[in-house]
Symmetry: C2
Subunit: 423 residues, 2 copies
């Protein structure tokens, strides 16, 4: 069944890849409309999913991710309209040149082909991914979580209807409509008919895909993110940046996990940082190097209630919550070493007034996004001006950091000659 | 042992990635010199490999690929000097922009990290790959064929000596110095310390890597290449292009495998094509659609000696020799269908005077390189002006077609703010 799905996706991708921007945008708008006009049907299916999930004892957080309501449907619909308005990357010519022999040579952007996406809970991902794939002329095979199968069936049905109404191949969007887990393993073997695998989920899912997939995998979305407060940093401003990076949305991958503070700034900065951020509900895991700066001299060296001494795994933990690691370093070198040892290569930054230290940090920290004097929370397709985001890659091949529409494409070389032969 | 090698490669890659262009070029020139000054030592080791290979009964073609001589060493040395002269892609900034919030954002080119290369016979690949990796700041782990282990030991030793003399980490170039085949399987699992795997060899090696590697694999180098002679083609010139594409170097992946001829041109063109190319030693596999145009009317419909009727697998065979498939089609559509069904996505072209047909061909054939009025033999890093080539990719992620220095790099996003926070 999956093999057949792969063949159908491949055939659909060939047709969709040649569709005009107008046709693809029409289908996007048609689907945007259907989300609103068919909202009763969607919400009814979603209510059944939710009831079953409650019965199965899923957590409140999971239930929230699974839940659709009129407002969320409107958001999904608006997102599709926004994607329709973005420029179509397909067909773009670049690296154009005329070779010394007179032959014209350029690269032309084409769809990747067939994408498979494995994800959990959130049914909005279904529409999100379908929209981005449709815009870029890629066929998709979706494997959502079993708890959202009912919602996904309706959503994918609407998407396929939109394709059909606009004269596009319905097999460009397919759902693995069966919760059997062995199908995931089957899917991962289908490298001849699937060009890219995007897992959207936790570290276990990414590792499973990396270890079992014969399809190229985009891994990412795991961020142990650092900010280093250099001795020359503006401490007042640094406090605001760290506050933002830690608390603005603590549950996501670009949220801050660890603050490294230069020893010369630690005495002034660390107590202020703790006092300020604990007001926002942050608690701290302080390395032994940081503890002396946090023990009050007037209460027998006790730590503030929000501060715990860091355990051995704490600097290798992606907190995804209002917890922040603290460590004092003696030098930029020591900060760089800590980041090299503990960063997941997602987003790391320096807060400094020193041009030289900023340059060294940018040169030596090799993460998908490196920052000078800015919050790690900017690592995001929309913030970086990509207009859309399908994933944040922390691997090195193909694309790194936020992946937008262009990162769902590849290119072909086009050479136009006058009956040229190779000497 | 391999795990240790991976860790050492990772550490060396970090250092090499920060080396200056001057340092890297100095090491390239130092190695170029060493190939000449140590030629006696290299040739002695190679002579032993050759003697063992002869004893083991390797084919003349294999022995030729294995063989080094002073002239080949000079060629390898000159290639290294040429790589030293190419611009260094590392550090390049691109996609530079200032975001609406005033933050400066750009991408900066960085090395991929650690590359593993699995190859057969030819010891010149050792130096070739070492040079390209060194230039791009990547560490490499090499796994050559067991028959060339003696030669490779000497060559890798010289490369490491060159690194050392120029203050670069010797573990940036490592050889798996053990013919045990189970080590390849171990290597393929090391995704944490190897960023890209490049198999250089036949289809079996590529398939083995695709099916067993947890490291992202660059597959490629398999070309079933087509030229379609449209009814409007200049037949005189088309003959020259086909002659070039088939005979200029028939053993390589961009050599022509199949000629498709529009029925309206077949009567005039096919007999001339066969008459002309058989002089160059080409023999033909003609589809039933082509046979009537080749049967002489004056000898009981016999075929020329160089022509055999095509068997069922012939249009799915990469010939790598002076054999050419022939087929007559009724339309551009039929040509496109044949290519879609049989091409490996390497290099395919149309010979035509019709702008409309050329455009349709370019739009609908999705191979790594597509041609109008040119030989497929141009699909090559040097011919495309890349200056060097590490592989020709026929997969879709990361890079497609000829891969030069830039394709051995990735990028990081660099954002420089003034204590910017995300609203």
């Amino acid at each position: 069944m999956l093999v057949e799905m792969g063949k159908q996706a491949r055939a659909a991708a060939r047709k969709l890849g040649r569709a005009s921007s107008e046709q693809k945008n029409a289908a996007l708008l048609c689907l945007a409309e259907a989300l609103l006009s068919s909202s009763a049907e969607i919400l009814a299916a979603n209510a059944e999913d939710l009831a079953a999930a409650r019965q199965a004892g899923l957590s409140a957080a999971m239930l929230d991710r699974l839940m659709l309501n009129p407002e969320r449907l409107q958001g999904m619909s608006a997102d599709l309209r926004r994607v329709a308005e973005l420029p179509d990357p397909i067909g773009e010519r670049f690296d154009q040149t005329t070779l010394p022999n007179g032959m014209s040579l350029y690269k032309q952007r084409v769809p990747l082909g067939v994408l498979a996406v494995i994800y959990e809970a959130r049914p909005n991902v279904t529409i999100d991914v379908a929209g981005l794939a449709l815009k870029t002329g890629n066929a998709i095979i979706l494997r959502g979580g079993s708890e959202t199968l009912g919602s996904n069936r309706v959503l994918v049905g609407l998407a396929r209807q939109a394709l059909q109404e606009c004269g596009l191949p319905v097999h460009a969007i397919q759902l693995i409509d069966n919760p059997d887990r062995s199908l995931v393993m089957q899917l991962l073997q289908m490298y001849e008919d699937v060009d890219m695998l995007i897992p959207r989920g936790g570290e276990a899912l990414h590792r499973f895909c990396r270890e079992n997939s014969r399809i190229p995998v985009i891994t990412g979305g795991i961020g142990i993110c650092h900010l280093f407060v250099d001795e020359s940093a503006n401490l007042e401003e640094s406090l605001k940046v760290i506050h933002n990076a830690k608390t603005q949305r603590p549950t996501v991958c670009n949220a801050l996990d660890t603050v490294l503070v230069h020893r010369k700034a630690a005495g002034e900065f660390l107590p202020r940082l703790v006092a300020e951020l604990e007001k926002a509900g942050v608690s701290f895991r302080a390395d032994a190097s940081a503890l002396p700066y946090l023990q009050s001299s007037d209460s027998n060296g006790e730590l503030p209630a929000s501060v715990l001494p860091a355990g051995p795994q704490d600097f290798d933990t992606e907190w995804l919550s209002l917890v922040l690691g603290l460590k004092v370093v003696d030098s930029l070198d020591e900060a760089l070493q800590h980041i090299e040892a503990h960063s997941t290569g997602h987003s790391d930054g320096i807060l400094t007034s020193s041009q030289a230290n900023a340059q060294r940090f940018l040169a030596e920290v090799d993460s998908a996004a490196v920052y000078v004097n800015a919050s790690t929370r900017f690592t995001d397709g929309a913030q970086f001006g990509l207009g859309a985001e399908v994933a944040v890659s922390t691997q090195r091949l193909h694309a790194r950091g936020p992946m937008g529409l262009r990162e769902l494409t590849t290119y072909k070389w086009v050479a136009v000659g006058d009956y040229h032969v190779r000497p």
